[in-house]
C-alpha cells in the first residue's frame, strides 16, 4: 500500500508548511472580539474600517468568538506568547483581577478624564492606573407589558407595597406576575443586586461582592426573605428554571406574564409589533430607602501586557475613546456611549441616563463585581431559593461555605 505512505508523507509536509505559514508580520493590529451578534459586529466593523482609513499603515484583523466561549478562552488570550493586541471585555472586578496579576497594559497615556464620568474611571482602574477603555453601557430595570397594565388599570409601582399589590392583581387576573428565564441563571443575578441594594444599601452590597460579608449574615438573609416571599406567594412564574431568558421574555410579550427584571437589550428581541407595548420602571423602593442602586454594566476594551503590537494597540484605544468613535458605534445600536460628550440617541436612553445619574450606587452586575465562580454559585442559589423558598437557610449556609473557599483561593 504505497498510497498510505504517500499520504503520510503528504501529511507531514503539509503540517510543516502550515506551521511555517502561521506567523504574522508586525505592522498589524489583531483584535479578539466577542461581538458575535450581527448588529454589534457590523457596528464594530464600521469602527475598524474608519480607524484603518485614518491610519493607512496599520492592517487590522478582527477575530470573533462567540460570547460564552470567549469567556472561557480569555485566560489563553492573555497568557499566549503572541497575545492579541486588543481584547473586548468588561469593567469592574472581572478586569481588575487580571490587572492585579500583571497581565494587562496600563492605558493612562491615552485616557482623557474630561470624556468619562468619574464612576467609569473607578471601574476601569486598578491601583491608580487605568487599564480599560469603556465604550457602551446599558441599564437594568423592571420591564413590563403596557397593554396588560392598561387592561387591568394598573399603575407602575414606586414602593415595594405597591409592587406587591400589582403582583397580586396580575395573579388574580391569571397572569404570571414576574417572568424570569432562570435556565440562564444570570437572570437571577439582577434580582440579587437590586433587592440587596434596596434593602441594605449600596455600600453594604459592595462589601458582599468583595466577599467581606457572610451569606448567612442577617442582612443578606433579609434580602433573600423578600425574594423567598415573592416565590411563596406564587408571584414568580411557574417552572422558571426550564425557560431561557428569551423564552420567558416571549411570555411577557404575549401578555401571559406582566413584569421582567431585565437589561435594556430585551427590546432587541421583542417582535416588531410588540416593541411599543414594552416599557420599564425603576426597581421599587423598599422600607422607604430612597437612595437606589442601578445595574449599568459597561463593555469596553483592554490591552494584554504581552500584546505584540502595543504601539498600534494604544493608538486604537485612543481612537476608541473619542467622541466620534463612540458615537459611530453606539448610535446604530441605540446604546448609551461611555463618553459623556456623545449625545443620547433617543428619549428612552435619556430616561435610562437620568436613572443612572440619580442613583446612589452604580453596579456592573453581580457576575462582574464578584469573582466569576462566586457569582455562578450565588446565582444558582438564588434560582434554588426561588424554587424552594422554605430551604433558604440551608441554601445560604452552603453558599457561604463556597464563599470562604473561593475568596481564600483568590488570595
Amino acid at each position: 500500500m504505497k498510497r498510505v505512505i504517500a499520504i503520510a508523507c503528504a501529511v507531514l509536509a503539509a503540517t510543516t508548511l502550515f506551521v511555517a505559514c502561521g506567523k504574522k508580520g508586525s505592522n498589524e493590529l489583531v483584535i479578539q472580539s466577542y461581538m458575535s451578534d450581527e448588529a454589534p459586529k457590523q457596528a464594530f466593523q464600521a469602527l475598524v474600517d474608519d480607524f484603518m482609513k485614518k491610519n493607512p499603515g496599520i492592517k487590522v484583523t478582527v477575530n470573533t468568538t462567540a460570547h460564552e466561549q470567549y469567556k472561557t478562552q480569555l485566560m489563553n488570550y492573555l497568557t499566549a506568547k503572541e497575545a492579541p493586541d486588543v481584547l473586548t471585555w468588561f469593567a469592574g472586578f472581572r478586569m481588575q483581577q487580571y490587572a492585579a496579576k500583571g497581565l494587562l497594559e496600563p492605558i493612562d497615556a491615552v485616557w482623557k478624564d474630561a470624556d468619562f464620568p468619574a464612576a467609569f474611571k473607578t471601574a476601569s482602574s486598578y491601583n491608580g492606573k487605568v487599564y480599560f477603555m469603556p465604550q457602551s453601557w446599558y441599564w437594568w430595570a423592571v420591564y413590563y407589558n403596557k397593554d396588560v397594565f392598561a387592561k387591568l388599570n394598573l399603575k407602575t409601582p414606586n414602593t415595594w407595597d405597591e409592587f406587591l399589590a400589582v403582583c397580586a392583581a396580575l395573579k388574580n387576573a391569571g397572569i404570571e406576575p414576574i417572568a424570569i428565564g432562570a435556565k440562564d441563571t444570570w437572570t437571577a443575578g439582577g434580582w440579587f443586586d437590586y433587592m440587596n441594594v434596596a434593602v441594605n444599601g449600596g455600600a453594604f452590597h459592595q462589601d458582599v461582592t468583595a466577599g467581606k460579608v457572610a451569606y448567612t449574615d442577617p442582612r443578606i438573609v433579609k434580602t433573600f426573605d423578600y425574594i423567598a416571599d415573592l416565590a411563596k406567594k406564587g408571584y414568580i412564574m411557574k417552572n422558571a428554571a426550564s425557560y431561557s431568558w428569551q423564552e420567558a421574555a416571549t411570555l411577557m410579550f404575549d401578555g401571559k406574564a406582566g413584569m421582567y427584571l431585565m437589561g435594556q437589550f430585551i427590546k432587541d428581541v421583542a417582535p416588531a409589533d410588540k416593541k411599543d407595548s414594552i416599557d420599564w420602571f425603576k426597581f421599587p423602593i423598599v422600607e422607604g430607602n430612597a437612595a437606589y442602586g442601578v445595574d449599568t454594566p459597561f463593555d469596553g476594551y483592554l490591552v494584554p501586557a504581552k500584546a505584540k503590537n502595543k504601539e498600534n494597540a494604544l493608538k486604537f484605544m485612543a481612537y476608541l475613546g473619542t467622541k466620534e468613535a463612540q458615537e459611530l458605534f453606539c448610535k446604530p445600536l441605540g446604546r448609551l456611549a461611555a463618553n459623556q460628550n456623545v449625545p443620547v440617541p433617543n428619549a428612552d436612553a435619556q430616561r435610562g441616563l437620568d436613572m443612572m445619574k440619580g442613583a446612589a450606587t452604580a453596579m456592573q452586575f453581580y457576575d462582574r463585581d464578584a469573582p466569576e465562580e462566586m457569582a455562578a454559585k450565588g446565582m444558582n442559589a438564588i434560582v434554588e431559593i426561588m424554587g424552594a423558598p422554605d430551604k433558604a437557610a440551608e441554601i445560604l449556609a452552603a453558599l457561604d461555605k463556597e464563599r470562604e473557599r473561593i475568596y481564600a483561593e483568590l488570595k
Binding site: 500500500m1 504505497k2 498510505v4 501529511v11 458575535s36 451578534d37 470573533t64 462567540a66 472561557t72
Partner: protein, 283 residues
C-alpha cells in the same frame, strides 16, 4: 387450535414490534424534524410560537442562504476539510503501524504498551485543555492548521490503535509467516498483506474519525484564534450572540455543516457495517 393461536400470537408479536419500532424511530427522528422545521421558520414565528414541532407557516429557504453568507460558512467548511482530511489520514497511517506491531510482534512489554494506548483514551479531555494550549503555545504551533492537525492525530491515536490492533489480531499468524519465509520485509508484509486485509476496518474507522474530527468544537476553540482558519463548528457557535440567538439561522447552518459527514458516511456505508460486524461471526 394451537396452530391458529400460535399464528395469532405471531401476528400480535409482529404488530407489537412494528408499533414499538415506529415509535422508537419517531422519537429518534423528532430532534431532526424540529431542526429542519426551525431552519425554515422566521425568528418572529419561533419567538411567538414556542411549540417547536409545529411545521413552519411559510417555508423560508432564504435562511440557508443567509446562514451561509452571514456565518461565512463557505470558508469555514473549506477550513474544516483542511483540518479533517490530513487528521484522519495521519491518525490512520500512524495507528495502523502501531497496531501492526502490537498485533504481530511478540515482545515483553506488548500488553503494557497496549494498555498505555487504552489508558490514554480514558483521560478526560477537560483535563487536557490547559496543558495542550500551553504546550502548543510554547512550541509556537497554536493558532495554525498544523498545530490542530497534529493534536487531532495524537489525540485519536489511542482509540485507532486499539481498534485496528484488535482487528488485526484476528488475522491468522500464518499470513505473516508465509511471506516472511519468502523473504518479504516486515514493511512489505504490512503494506501488501495486512493493510489490504484490514481495509474494511480502516474504512469504518475513517468514517468514525471523520465525523468526530469534523464535529470537534473544543480543540478548535482552544487552539485556533484567527477567524481566517476557524472550523465550521466555531462558525456555528459564533451565530450565538451575547444575548440573542437566531435559532433559525443556527439550525440552517447546522444542517449545512452536517452535509459533509453524512455524504462521507453514505459513501463508506458498506464498509462501515462490514467493519463493525467484522469478527462478530466466528468462522
Amino acid at each position: 387450535m394451537t396452530k391458529v393461536a400460535s399464528s395469532r400470537w405471531r401476528a400480535f408479536r409482529a404488530a407489537a414490534f412494528y408499533v414499538t419500532a415506529t415509535l422508537l424511530v419517531a422519537v429518534w427522528l423528532l430532534p431532526l424534524v424540529i431542526g429542519v422545521f426551525t431552519s425554515l421558520k422566521s425568528m418572529d414565528e419561533i419567538m411567538a410560537n414556542p411549540v417547536m414541532w409545529k411545521p413552519p407557516k411559510a417555508l423560508r429557504f432564504e435562511n440557508f442562504g443567509e446562514a451561509w453568507n452571514r456565518a461565512g460558512m463557505g470558508r469555514y467548511i473549506v477550513n474544516t476539510f483542511i483540518v479533517t482530511i490530513p487528521s484522519v489520514a495521519g491518525a490512520l497511517a500512524v495507528s495502523s503501524l502501531a497496531a501492526f506491531a502490537l498485533a504481530f510482534y511478540r515482545f515483553r512489554l506488548n500488553k503494557a504498551v497496549l494498555v498505555l494506548f487504552v489508558a490514554g483514551m480514558l483521560v478526560p479531555f477537560q483535563m487536557l485543555m490547559i496543558p495542550v494550549f500551553r504546550m502548543s503555545n510554547g512550541l509556537g504551533i497554536d493558532d495554525s492548521f498544523g498545530g490542530l492537525i497534529l493534536f487531532h492525530i495524537s489525540f485519536q491515536l489511542g482509540f485507532c490503535t486499539f481498534f485496528l490492533r484488535n482487528f488485526m489480531k484476528q488475522i491468522p499468524y500464518s499470513q505473516i509467516e508465509a511471506p516472511r519465509i519468502d523473504g518479504a520485509s516486515d514493511f512489505t508484509i504490512y503494506a501488501r498483506i495486512i493493510m489490504p486485509l484490514a481495509l474494511p476496518s480502516i474504512a469504518a474507522l475513517a468514517v468514525l474519525e471523520f465525523t468526530w474530527i469534523w464535529n470537534d468544537l473544543l480543540w478548535s476553540l482552544v487552539l485556533l484564534r484567527s477567524d481566517a482558519i476557524k472550523t465550521v463548528t466555531l462558525g456555528l457557535a459564533n451565530m450565538q450572540g451575547e444575548f440573542i440567538t437566531t435559532y433559525n439561522l443556527t439550525a440552517a447552518g447546522s444542517i449545512l455543516a452536517a452535509i459533509a459527514p453524512v455524504a462521507v458516511f453514505l459513501a463508506f456505508q458498506r464498509y462501515f457495517i462490514e467493519g463493525l460486524t467484522m469478527g462478530a461471526d466466528k468462522g
